[in-house]
Symmetry: C2
Subunit: 259 residues, 2 copies
């Protein structure tokens, strides 16, 4: 009984994204079926995700809540859902008993995404499942100069694909930086929220700056002009990972089972 919040990890390679759609395999679809089975229900249990991820995008930590008609303990629920998932590419890693007014999406105060790039002229079989490969030289300092400009509150219309469901494209970015480790580049962005395709569009234009295709001034003018057509290409989905979601109320205070 009551509302439960799930922490979910998935490999997005073989999903048509998070959101439930008819006739295709989605993370929400697989999870709703497993949660319904775990709750012993024959009707659909609706899951409310903290955010949607596109086809091919991964999640280290997606969050979603549902209203339970079962009184399973957190431990029983977690293992029952994972049992019914019976697939290797989704896993429920934690479950929390949250108040009925808690909402996985509306109560999120910060989301973190990571975008990973591997620099190599030749294919990298061991890396390309979770990284986008770039075969050009990329300057980390130029990437970070562009990443710095994104911080703060901006209208991200230039980096928003059509098809999203929110009217405002204004978001606040708390942190935005690239880290290089050998041939790997990892971009971390933390924000109040993200518009449709925003991280992949930002990465696409930042890598143009890093490769010398765009000047930093050009990148700044794209951010300011609010015109999607000025921006660079959308970076591929496989390099993107929903990394963490933070809530105003600490989840550690709730009854829970974490693995």
């Amino acid at each position: 009984m009551g509302r439960r919040l799930l922490k979910i990890e998935y490999d997005g390679t073989n999903f048509c994204g998070w959101q439930l759609q008819p006739d295709v395999r989605t993370v929400q679809g697989e999870l709703e079926r497993a949660v319904s089975k775990a709750a012993g229900k024959n009707t659909r249990t609706v899951l409310h995700g903290a955010g949607r991820t596109d086809a091919g995008v991964h999640a280290l930590s997606q969050m979603a809540h549902f209203d339970s008609h079962s009184s399973h303990s957190c431990h029983t629920y977690l293992h029952a859902i994972n049992f019914w998932l019976s697939t290797h590419d989704i896993s429920v890693r934690a479950i929390y008993e949250v108040p009925d007014n808690f909402h996985a999406r509306f109560d999120a105060v910060k989301k973190t995404y990571r975008y990973s790039i591997i620099l190599s002229e030749t294919k990298r079989p061991l890396f390309e499942r979770y990284c986008t490969r770039i075969d050009r030289k990329v300057d980390i300092n130029s990437l970070n100069s562009a990443a710095e400009l994104i911080k703060g509150t901006h209208d991200f219309a230039s980096f928003t694909a059509s098809g999203g469901d929110t009217e405002s494209t204004v978001r606040t970015i708390f942190n935005s930086h690239w880290i290089r480790e050998g041939d790997m580049l990892n971009y971390f962005i933390e924000g109040s929220g993200f518009t449709y395709n925003m991280v992949r569009n930002l990465v696409g234009s930042m890598t143009e700056v890093g490769c010398g295709g765009f000047s930093l001034k050009k990148f700044e003018s794209i951010l300011e002009c609010n015109d999607r057509k000025q921006a660079g290409p959308t970076a591929p989905p496989g390099g993107l990972m929903l990394y963490e979601i933070c809530y105003g109320r600490s989840l550690s205070l709730f009854n829970k089972y974490e693995t």
Copy 2:
């Protein structure tokens, strides 16, 4: 013309191992076909690998040589072989022009393997392709006490599966240690060579020590008794990666193309 040495990366998940076998997909089989095509030959080009990897085992850096009847430059050869490979799970990352008496296997003086473990009670979709998951508590200090005993020259008969093609099971281990980073455990072992299934058998018995199933004394007695039946289980292949192969003659001295 002359002998060429290849540095090869592969994801072993969808291969029946390195060694050529009829009617199944092997790394050697795919590579020999691509090298023959790249050389413009209709007959088979034989590849001599530095070592065999089992089904499911990955390689960050496998080495193999062949005798070329083409005078392609290193750059042309590398791109031609990768073009003919036309698969995402093998890549040739470097090519060297080596003397005719150079042998990928017999001239190797040190091989390094890595074995990766992820500690988690629940599935880890983003990690299990390249790690073995253990859902018990593992003590890193116990792992390292066992790893320390392996160093030096020993008869590894207790850790050798039947079916190998060498008579002696004596090998010299230069380095053997576990590193913990968060929920990840990485084991690095460097040696003069390895008997059939040796690394996976060592990891299987060391993790028994780490989980408290075997005492350190028991592990030591297994190493000394030269009896395979005393050892623990064989660790699964997916956590294993051929990490590096070192030669007596530095490859940097040869004409080459590295990516």
